[in-house]
Symmetry: C2
Subunit: 409 residues, 2 copies
């Protein structure tokens, strides 16, 4: 039994996060269910970037590395992200892309774990994670990438495993691992854990310290609303920092970058995982998104996300559309997204987008709808379900214009 | 004999690039001789970034990957940079940082050159280049980094060398290598060349095709005026592209990034050197700087750069200040910068900055002045020399406030 529009409007009226929606610059007539691909723009980013361009770059020029603390920005924004995911001060830094950060931590983790050489991961995780691990395997003789289905993971954690590398929330299914339990099991077998939190940070409660996590990476442009291609971030538990050296030994990770020493000497602390000069405009835009997230009660926010997901599932299933739910029904076992499978998922999603409901298609057959609790209303979830049901009932997705594939999905 | 102020003003009046200065947003009262650390802001960047934030990110959201061709931006901007350095279409792409791009090309180049394992480079090149090579040496057993003084380079190119890795224009001294001659010598010995063009692109005439160069990287935030930490770019000669695979196998380098295949399969062409999602705000700001550079006659522009450098040298030396010129006197043998050595270079540069002449200090004893011909006037070079001479004559640099060191220099 799904609620009426009047009922969900009452939920919105009582929503403690309702005012947050006004802090985002959202297009009119759009229900945006793709914040897990690219988060919406915080209103504050317009003025912040105007200042960065006019005051920091144009007026301050090279002096802004000191005057506006550009040099401290990767650690400053990293520390703010750290507070969102239960890291301790000095355990998170913003740097490079998720893929590059994965490479750093996989290689550094393997070196720490020698002679173990197995990277255990989940078949069907976000491809770049597997690709980076395969790249390491091609580069370093002896390294083995073992990808198993999620239900075989626990059984595959044995004393050959150097690194257990997992995406906490699966990008396609939305299924969420039990980070604390898997970390404990990995540690019992002598393995380190490397968590990809791209679909977790800002969406579900994460507590790296309590989980005893070793290493993690995450994306800046999804639930953190950092802007297109926002820099990524990485986490290294303090107890491991001295023992791990990044294979990407750029000058920003040096103990004294401006001494211009001839020999590489990694600095102490999380800054040793920096490499080259960070893309400052993108990094300072990311800070706007992170600052918004810092204002809210994260467990409560994640609770709203789960209610949005459940509402959408209930409404779609009450409509009797015959879609197969891919995402776990249990809120504790999923991220802030709902995926349904349908053989014509591509065309159906194009028809939804045409009506202003922007979700995502994920190959081969998944309709993926992300629910960002910071700026979505219960009414949005209700209307999105109504739109999907209408498209299925009327067969509107059969129009030829919804069949053509674009380069990016 | 150095010219008078009236004479250099006449040169400015006749300068065909004079109007270009108005295309930059420069602070009042500043003579900016640090465009080789961070280039000035093109005026166009303010409006461009406003549009990117409002129209592309906030309004377009995830649709902008197609609608505004974000997905094509790394290759599009790369092609524009390629035209500035004599590359052929499809040989340059914007990606990551200079350090990360060096890592990709060093590792890919070494694999192509097996069983050779020697990276020959110059002692005293920009530290990050050497650091990255040292990181590769630590990672891959057998790799040897051989760093020799510049005058011993030619003699050190032998049949053990896999890769000759050089910064064409030295960041500290401004000395410029003969790219064509060294490339020919490297090829005769069976070595590949990897050029760091961070201090060359946009400053001196570069013709990678005519030089027969194999691989190159460069910075976006110096003479290309791409903004703080602008993404870097890399060049791979087309004849080598199929044979080289990046060790950083992120999804953007995959043949079909949105097929979400489990196995990494590099795409054909320069896009295979992409890794993760590019920082779009920083990348589109870079495009503004590159577009400005595309409007000018580069050899003529570089000629103006050399006249600025010569004027500065002449004025300083005519003042009898006793500074030691570090940069080659021959314009063909140097980049668009002038370095003088002085034991108190740090304090002298702080005193110059205090008077609005912003140059750079480079450890241990170098006053570095970059001359960006796009936005500098002959009068600027003349006045900069006058300021330097006055500081030396009066001993103004002895004030205690000019002694304190900051984090970034």
């Amino acid at each position: 039994m799904s609620p009426t529009l009047a009922e969900v409007r009452a939920w919105d009226a009582a929503d403690p996060f309702a005012a947050m929606r006004e802090r985002f610059d959202l297009p009119a007539g759009v229900i945006y269910l793709d914040g897990n691909s690219l988060g919406a723009a915080p209103r504050a980013v317009h003025q912040r970037l105007r200042d960065v361009l006019a005051t920091e770059w144009a007026e301050g020029l090279v002096r802004s590395w000191n005057r506006h603390d550009w040099i401290g920005a990767p650690a400053r924004v990293g520390a703010k992200i750290g507070r969102l995911i239960g890291a301790q001060p000095g355990e998170v830094i913003v740097a490079d892309s998720t893929s590059v950060d994965l490479f750093k931590l996989i290689v550094a983790g393997l070196q720490r774990q020698a002679p173990r050489q197995v990277i255990l991961t989940e078949a069907g995780d976000f491809p770049t994670d597997g690709y980076v691990a395969q790249g390491v395997q091609s580069l370093l003789p002896g390294v083995i990438v073992r990808a198993v289905p999620p239900d075989q993971l626990a059984a595959a954690i044995d004393e050959s495993v150097a690194l257990l590398m997992l995406t906490e929330v699966n990008y396609r299914t939305g299924a969420r691992h039990d980070m604390a339990a898997l970390t404990a099991q990995a540690h019992a077998a002598g393995a380190l854990t490397l968590w990809d939190l791209s679909h977790s940070a800002g969406a579900v409660p994460v507590d790296l310290t309590r989980a005893g996590a070793d290493l993690a990476v995450g994306c800046g442009y999804k639930y953190l609303n950092g802007g297109p291609g926002a820099p990524a971030w990485l986490y290294v538990a303090r107890r491991l920092q001295d023992a791990l050296v990044s294979p990407l030994t750029g000058w920003m990770g040096h103990a004294e970058p401006f001494a211009f020493d001839g020999d590489y000497r990694p600095t102490v602390g999380i800054e040793r995982f920096l490499c080259g000069t960070p893309p400052m405009l993108s990094l300072l835009a990311l800070e706007c998104g992170v600052d918004l997230m810092a204002e809210v009660d994260l467990p409560a926010l994640a609770g709203k996300g789960q209610r949005l997901c459940s509402l959408f599932i209930d409404c779609v299933e009450a409509g009797g559309a015959g879609l197969a739910l891919v995402t776990p029904r249990d809120p504790a076992a999923r991220g802030s997204q709902v995926s349904f499978a349908h053989p014509e998922a591509w065309a159906i999603m194009q028809a939804m987008i045409d009506r202003g409901v922007i979700g995502d298609f994920r190959a081969p057959d998944v309709l993926r709808c992300g629910f960002t609790p910071l700026y979505l209303r219960y009414e949005d979830a209700w209307r999105a379900a109504e739109t999907l049901l209408d498209i299925l009932e009327t067969g509107a997705w059969r129009e030829p214009r919804f069949q053509a594939r674009s380069r990016v999905t």
